[in-house]
Amino acid sequence: MEPGETACVVTEAESAGLNTIEYNITRFVQILRRLGVRVSLAETVDAVSALAGIDLLDKSRVRAALKACLAKSRREAGIFDQAYGLFFTTPEEKARRRQQYREARAERDRLINTAERELMEVVEEWQRDLPEKIVLTEQQLETFSLMPESGKERMKEILDRMKSNPVNNPGELINRVLQSSLNYWRYYMMKNAAGGGKAGTLPEEGSTGDEEMDEVIRSVDAHFYHHPGDRILHRDMESLDDSDIPRMTSLISHMSSQLALGISRRYKRSAGTAAVDIRRTVRRNIRYGGVPIELRYRARRRKRPRFLLICDVSASMARHARFVLQFIYGLNSALGGLESFIFSEDLERTTEFFSKNRNFARSMTDMINGSRQWGKSTNLHESLKTFLRHYGDKLTPDTVVFIVSDARTVAPEAAAGLLRDIKLKCADIIWLNTLPRREWEQKAPVKLFCGLADMYECSTLSQLEKALRRHVFKYA
């Protein structure tokens, strides 16, 4: 929308009485929703009624009243505070920020165009005899433009050198190299931006189509994750800094032992003989003068299920895998008899590394040293074939299979076929996907596997904990 146009719409809205408290609250709620705060209609109504008893001229009380009705966790309260300050501010401030953003946007377009020109120059030769042209996304081009000069030069050099290597299908090869090294750089830069505060240069896509609201959403996105406590819990594990690892490790050990404690208690209560239901027993035995001749029992809980873990440890998963394994290792004491496997090109059984009384760091080192799978590329089909051939008997109708993977694999169709076989032999397949949900849509294998397993996003520690809690307790 052009600036002139926006002004028109705003004046129109104001004269139609739209610049009311209700109108602004509704817009603000839309912003919160975009930022991942779940606000229901009832809560919006609460927020409006809350203001009835508050002096509207007292700004800090108005803010507190809205917050009490709209933000329902510490994380949401943090997002609320940031968004509130940005949304309920003077028109001059808003205009200034808008101008700033427009300039930044223009600059970004310029950088992207330059990057595209630079890269296409190098790959032009192939482009000519290729049926399919190389297509890079705006995000990838942006990544290239933000890379340090030395990185750009090296990348161009590598591409250049590949020209002299005779291969069957140079187009596909070069495309793969280009895509994967740009993706690598993106992660690398995000990782380094995490602490430094430059993360704002790599914004998320997605817009409400309303410039004023988008403005607020963008600003909060960029700032929110700098809150030190929340960063680790809610940030993609892949992009955590090395310096975060000790904190992450102690956080995981805390969270997993909490969860393990809950699970053990639950099992303890449901184990043993069924309890007598006194109310029903009394009732039943009135005819015998209250002498409990016929006992009535409470319904027995379901039998304890068995859990089986299959974890992807290929290159794209290396960092995630470490954290996920540590988490599950923490649960092992409560789950007992957990079967675990790791895979990339092929699959290996790792159950014995997780036996009780073993030190996690030691187990991890032993596992990495003793395995041929760590950091390779992914072949889920081959891995599941090995699984079914050698360990198929571990599947029983009360086994819950957890698969942890980003679903980036060769031969996804063939893998899906085997997954279908597995599903027939077990209670359930839960897929914990370390890829952020917003990227699922573009990935065909993800969609394919979604139909066969219950898939949950688990790119952050908080999501991992939630998914495990939900499922382990559900079956407990």
């Binding site: 008893g53 507190a64 933000a71 639950r266 809690r469």
Partner: protein, 315 residues
């Protein structure tokens, strides 16, 4: 009952609860919108105390349901008094057909009220404190959610019992587990963080005035420094600051020193590793520097006599 916001804030202070504007506004909304108040925060930041103070402010009973893993409806809502039922059966067994006995047995007379039922059957508006609700399991949470939505319970043998008075409901959670969206939506929400130095000084002054303002300020500054700069297993909460202040008073301390800190540190920090971390020479110096105020350095480490006007120390 009809307090306005400022009156409520003052009344809570009068009953010994220090509250800032945000907190008072949220409590006020829970009362006026007649919604449950959900308070989250680390242990010892003053969640449970809110319910107790509201009981005093409105001069009414506080009925507490302490939650724990495995809590069920029999312990939270009601149970039949089996002993009395059995006695009654014994008395009537020869004189009455058993269909009639059954009708008599499941009468309100034999009902044992547990906290939830007691709170909604009470003739006065009480405060219902559902403490540490994150400890219960999900099915019980769902049951609570229903109860808090319509304030009635159905007892198979008796039918539906409705609330005589909608109680003032305060739920607390240490955040061990995230509560369901449904429950959170029903509630007005308050997150209590550790207090800043000024608030903690006010709490200390209210609860341990005998320590004196100067020592209380030093305590608050030291605790604040520890919370924001050390990575501890268990952060000291307000409850621990209060214990620490009382211990220092018992030693007749009027200023904080390395010596009296060392002797009382086990009241502030319950974990052994945490204590070792704090007692490390360099760390101890930093704590003292913050506790006595930056200005202490300029004055050559003598006591500073600025009464309660130390700068809120920077982190």
């Amino acid at each position: 009952m009809d307090l306005n916001l400022d009156e409520l804030k003052r009344a809570m202070e009068k009953e010994g609860y220090v509250s800032e504007d945000d907190l008072a506004v949220t409590v006020y909304l829970a009362l006026t919108l007649k919604k449950p108040l959900l308070v989250e925060g680390a242990p010892g930041v003053g969640k449970t105390e809110i319910a107790k103070v509201l009981g005093r402010v409105f001069d009414t009973e506080v009925i507490r349901l302490q939650c724990y893993e495995g809590l069920d409806e029999n312990k939270a809502l009601y149970e039949w008094n089996y002993q009395r039922q059995l006695l009654k059966i014994q008395i009537l067994k020869d004189s009455c057909p058993h269909e009639d006995i059954e009708k008599d047995l499941f009468d309100e007379e034999y009902l044992l009220e547990r906290p939830l039922l007691k709170a909604i059957r009470s003739d006065r508006r009480v405060v219902l404190l559902i403490d540490e609700v994150d400890k219960v399991d999900e099915p019980f949470e769902a049951f609570l959610f229903e109860l808090l939505s319509d304030f009635q319970v159905s007892i198979p043998e008796l039918g539906t019992l409705e609330a005589r008075q909608i109680p003032i409901v305060v739920l607390t959670s240490n955040g061990d587990r995230e509560l369901s969206d449904g429950l959170k939506r029903r509630c007005v929400y308050l997150y209590i963080d550790y207090p800043d130095i000024d608030k903690e000084v006010r709490i200390l002054q209210m609860k341990v005035p005998e320590a004196g303002e100067r020592l209380n300020r030093q305590i608050a500054a030291a605790v604040n420094y520890i919370r924001s700069n050390l990575d501890l297993r268990k952060q000291p909460s307000i409850a621990e600051s209060l214990d620490w202040a009382r211990a220092l008073v018992a030693l007749h301390a009027d200023v904080l020193t390395v010596e009296n800190l060392t002797r009382t540190v086990n009241l502030l920090l319950k974990n052994r590793d945490d204590r070792l971390q704090v007692l490390d020479g360099g760390v101890l110096d930093e704590i003292m520097r913050h506790a006595l105020g930056e200005k202490a350095g300029e004055k050559g480490h003598t006591h500073c006599h600025c009464h309660g006007n130390l700068p809120a120390s920077s982190n």
